[in-house]
Amino acid sequence: MRKLDGNLVLLVTLFAVLLVAGGLLSGGTYLSLFNLQSMASQVPEIGLLAIGVMLAMCAGDGGIDLSGIAMANLAGVASGLFAMSIFPVDEAPVLFTVTFVIGCAVVGLIGGTLNGLIISRLGITPILCTLGTQMFFTGVTVVLSGGRAVRIGTPEPLYEIGNGYVLGIPISFLMFIGVATLLGLVLRHTPYGVKLMMTGSNQKAAEFSGFARARIVTTTYALSGLLAGLAGLIIAARNVNVKWDYGTTYLLIAILVAVMAGVKPEGGYGRVINVVLAAIILQLLSSLLNFVGLSNFVRDLAWGALLLCFLFVNRFALVEHFDALFSSKRDPHASKN
């Protein structure tokens, strides 16, 4: 029997507790279809960025991707300007949207590959590289847009991506779940996924086993960039404008989600389903704080405190501790991993 993932149990418990607490505190409006839909449509932006952070962390060797939101904004602005210069938004909305979507993915992929090549070929520490590219991407976005917001407008198909529903579920949320599922399968069942985790947990051993480390790292950061590009697409679809300084707090929140999901900052372990759940939980909490009427600043404070709390929980393996405590009554060997 596979060992129960303690972190997953914790996240599911939190999820249930938050839903119940929200329902009780708001007298039911929190659980109304409208509120659930609006919460679901806010998850994908952060969720995609957080999966990107998770991938980079899994690659190990101090891996982290700080350029996510900068990349997303660049993708939105660059691809938006490009698509607008070819197809007028109002006359050819479908062609515009297709170009825009492809453009976002391509820009993200290029940016991510750039990160990956700098890290794997030049041997620059991921923190430093992504700090540099974060500033560089933001800079390019500012230059392209002249520092102003770029108006994408609301062409029909693009608007649908950001605000439409299928069977009452927001399309952007479905896209997010689709991408996450695909990625989860890739990480679990392809040679790339297995090699990524092995490289992350022991770089030297992986290299001696003949893994092409440079290629694995480059692919990982390219994927992270691609996810950021998709986040940029959803940001553009949900908001009428794209701008270089959108979502300045997203960097912290993406890292917070990854840490909540039990991703190890030292590399080698991370599960997509936990990241998805953690992103949803954060959104539930954020909406709950809104319902109670707390300001954005209190929310920032709460995110900081929450990040430190989860670091604390992970550091002292509190979840496993309790898990072992309960299961030791049933099976004396369960506490030994």
Binding site: G62, I64, I124, I255, P265, S295, F297, D300
Partner: protein
Amino acid sequence: MTMVQDMTDTAIPNPPRKERSLGQLFQRRPELVSLSILIVICVTVSIINPAFLQPSSLIDMGRASVVTGLFALGVFAILAVGGIDVSFTAIAALSMYSLTLFVINVYPTAPMTLVVVTAILGGAGLGALNGWLVNLLQVPSLIVTIGTQYLFRGFLLAFIGTVWLMELPPQMIAFGKAPLLSFETANGAVVSLPIYFLVFPAAAVVTWMIFNMTLMGRAVFATGGKADVAARLGYDQRTVHIFVFAFTGALAGLAGIIHVCANRMANPFDLVGTEIEVIAAVVLGGARITGGTGTVFGTVTGVLLITVVNNSLVLVGIPSTWQRVVVGAFILLAAAFFVTRQQKQ
């Protein structure tokens, strides 16, 4: 005066004979590269636009370098111990705003010395909390300090205040205005270099002394070079971490109060967001982000480089929107350069 750290390359044995070629010199002393770039940029800019050399623009740059410089000395210390800190701007904002608020409302006649000392101590306290957490949680300090950045800033904006304080007490305004040097420009306006400019060189000298002449300085470089070896040598990791982060916090508190006095107002939304530029300055000064290296001299050079780049783009006709692209490219190029240097060794 030698600025090279003795501990710079503990892992790599020194070459038996000192090579005399320029390339070798640059490899041993990366900060000389930054210095050369700085000189080249200054000469180029002053040829394209001689206005660069006017006292007023030089003094502007001198003033602008103080806050960045104090932050950078702190970041230098953190990089030396092998960590990274993004919360120092939040520490500066929290300590400067709450202190100014306190002085205005509770103790308007507080002597300036007391204000400055309180700012330093407050910053050191918050920094020590960082150091304690980094040691306790055993995760990369980047992640811990991202958390504390939001904690500190959220606390400031949620509980202390969000309004700009425009009416500073007189002693703080006097501190911000007191001139060290005054010039009269061609059109009759008087520009003066404020006395607080001296804080930056003074802090640089103090930092240099701590990191080159005390046991704690050696402990910091040893920990940054190889933490487990340093621990086995008997350097208490918790003390080292708390000291370094508190030192950075103290410099941030000082920078915050100077920022208030220089601008004659306290804006709680200021400062946070400038971290990356400060880190860039220190990296440009030749410190490795993986720890154990770096020099105070290099850090000062890096700060001057960033300040000059920020202030001279417009003078040579590059629109200010390009500023981030240039700084970002500088970070990547500098990092690539120093990494290849490392591999050659």
